[in-house]
Amino acid sequence: MKTNDVILQTTSKVVFFIIILFAIHLFFAGHYHPGGGFVGGLMTSGALVLLLLAFDIKTVAKGFPIDYKILIGIGLLFAIGTAAGALVFNVPFFTHVFGDVYLPIFGETSLHTAMLFDLGVYLVVIGVTMTIIQTIGESE
């Protein structure tokens, strides 16, 4: 397939970062506003798919030398670890803690262990989506 996609390639290089930033914003918004790990993860993988469309699998794999299946494992461990942390403190499984903490740069910040769980979800979603897309895409 020889088509001229200079415009697509140039714009997607810029748009990619905008999407990633927005995905991260969505991820952090998740706790008190609409957003969260699932949507953030989907949007991040959307950005990666855009790159796959503009370039090809080999180029993208060179830029992001990640095995997405490993990402699933890391994400799962994050999610399970957050839930299983309750076992250490002998409170019911999945119990979360939260509180307002003063951090040097951010000032007064509301921290929640659910965010760690959400990080796990985020990684799993990216891992699963990209694995599926690569599986279908690779054989072409």
């Binding site: 699932f38 699963v128 989506t129 599926i132 599986t135 279908i136 054989s139």
Partner: protein
């Protein structure tokens, strides 16, 4: 509003049944997608349709929407996303391996294992 939703759900179910009864694998997968959309719409209708309030019981909320159906839908959507993705991958592999996406040609019982 509930009546309109019921009609929409019925239309979704009808078209999904029609699609799932066809022979092409891709149509069948789209049919399952529509079926789960219908089911999700059904949950939110069954939870009671309301307007103008968030699904949260705040400290001073005068009214609120039942958050449970929304949580259920979110879970169900994620699950059907996963299943559909897996189904698509599998259908693609089957198409490559068997050389057909016609369900009629996938009949048979013989083993080769």
């Amino acid at each position: 509003m509930e009546i309109l939703m019921s009609i929409v759900i019925g239309a979704l179910f009808a078209s999904s049944v029609y699609l799932m009864l066809s022979k092409s694998l891709l149509r069948i997968i789209i049919g399952t997608g529509l079926l789960s959309h219908g089911a999700h719409l059904l949950i939110i209708t069954m939870g009671g349709l309301k307007r103008g309030a968030a699904p949260l019981l705040g400290e001073k909320a005068a009214s609120y929407v039942d958050p449970l159906p929304q949580a259920l839908i979110l879970t169900a959507i994620v699950i059907s996303f996963g299943v559909t993705a897996l189904f698509l991958v599998l259908a693609y592999r089957a198409y490559q391996e068997l050389g057909t996406d016609n369900m009629d040609e996938m009949r048979g019982n013989e083993a080769n294992d």
